[in-house]
Symmetry: C2
Subunit: 228 residues, 2 copies
DNA sequence: GACATGGTTGGCAGGCTGCCAAGATTCGCT
DNA sequence: AGCGAATCTTGGCAGCCTGCCAACCATGTC
């Protein structure tokens, strides 16, 4: 008499188009993870919101963390979406202005998603999450190098990459000050970011000294790029 | 005959100095949370590492999240520690240089703790965590205003706060490029940060237009959005 | 129409967290 | 010193959550 495994009653009555289910789960997960934290959201909720059985989550995505990684990856995708083709403009300044305007426009449209994406940073030190976010930032940096007309990103010295990554961090913080704290307006952020970059890649970048041969702190070896 | 609750055998045989236990738990939690993520660390581990019973965690700190908040609060404390007294120096530039050097020195000393603290950003959207980190950044910003000799922070316009918060975000990103990716050296970060701030509070800050009476950005719907 | 294939479900085992009652220990008061 | 109160400390219990698995059921193929 059914020793331990009860018979699953009415099992699969609804089968939708392949990954229609998959998208449903991803959407529900994105929604829930956006408004609440990772560990506050139970897979049971996600399954209920998506209208599927909980076990299906493990079937499509592996574990709960894998699902989260997928959500973050999807959230980050739109960052590279809106500026795929080259921004045309005569001078680098014009192209930069256009890029910043597009960036702010995109952020304004996807306010919640963007805040959630950069807020998702944590989850402790998940290497996959970190890799996804890092790749997105790195791509933005490379695109910025191209926009500025500084040649292919691969040829740029590491110091320039570092400066532009730092600029990216500043842009994120500045955007947060606009979206979350309302300390200045969109026009003000835009004006500040547009004016800041030339100063940074100009004066501040020139102030960086040559890398000495010996460096006291090392995680790995340093290829030593010749800059400028 | 003891209906449901078994008698706790040898209960409290060791009672150490009041909050000695508390500190032990905090230390173990800090260590474990630093190397692994929040949800990867079980309170059982923390208790084992601290050498206490698991229930004691709930006695001293409330829930696991409360303990985490306390850990982050402690990690962030050292940020305000090393520069409490006024930095003396003739010119604002000299004081700024000194502040940046101290900042980098502190980060270099507490590399792991600092990376963990800013990496702890996430945990979803915990309001307490966000508040703790935000308070630390805000304090750093206010101190920076004083260092620059721009008068009391309370009197500064919100745009200046925003600019300095953005600068703080840049400093964090630049530091990460140094500590995690090794794209430049400590001297280079220092030189860049020292050269960047005058440019930002000078030229870029001046480029910010006056705030219009109506501001277009609202949390919810999009009133009109006139873009340039 | 029978069979293979893969989507879908419910349930089970293990682990983890919050809470609680019960000893143990220290302290204050008379 | 003796006694009671307050607090520290422990182990265990109930509930929830996650990963996994066997079984059920649609769909496609021959």
């Amino acid at each position: 008499m059914a020793a331990r495994t009860a018979v699953p009653a009415g099992a699969a009555g609804n089968r939708t188009d392949g990954d229609e289910r998959r998208r449903r789960i991803l959407g529900a997960a994105r929604r829930l993870f956006s408004e609440r934290g990772y560990s506050d959201v139970a897979t049971t909720e996600i399954a209920a919101e998506a209208g599927v059985a909980r076990g299906l989550i493990n079937h499509y995505f592996g574990t709960k963390r894998d699902l989260y990684v997928e959500v973050v990856r999807e959230m980050v995708r739109f960052r590279s979406q809106p500026v795929p083709e080259y921004v045309d403009g005569a001078t680098p300044e014009a192209r930069l202005d256009e890029s910043i305007d597009r960036w702010l426009e995109m952020v304004a449209r996807n306010r919640e998603a963007w805040l959630a994406a950069i807020g998702a940073e944590g989850l402790g030190h998940d290497p996959e999450i970190a890799a996804v976010l890092d790749a997105a930032r790195e791509e933005a940096t490379s695109r910025l190098i191209q926009v500025l007309g500084l040649g292919p990103a691969a040829d740029a010295p590491p110091e320039l990459h570092a400066v532009l990554r730092a600029y990216g961090g500043m842009a994120e913080a500045a955007t947060r000050e606009w979206l979350e704290r309302d300390r200045w307006s969109r026009e003000q952020v835009a004006a500040f970011l547009k004016a800041a970059l030339p100063e940074l890649v100009g004066t501040a970048y020139e102030a960086i000294p040559e890398q000495r041969a010996d460096n006291e702190h090392q995680t790995a070896a340093e290829p030593q790029g010749d800059r400028r």
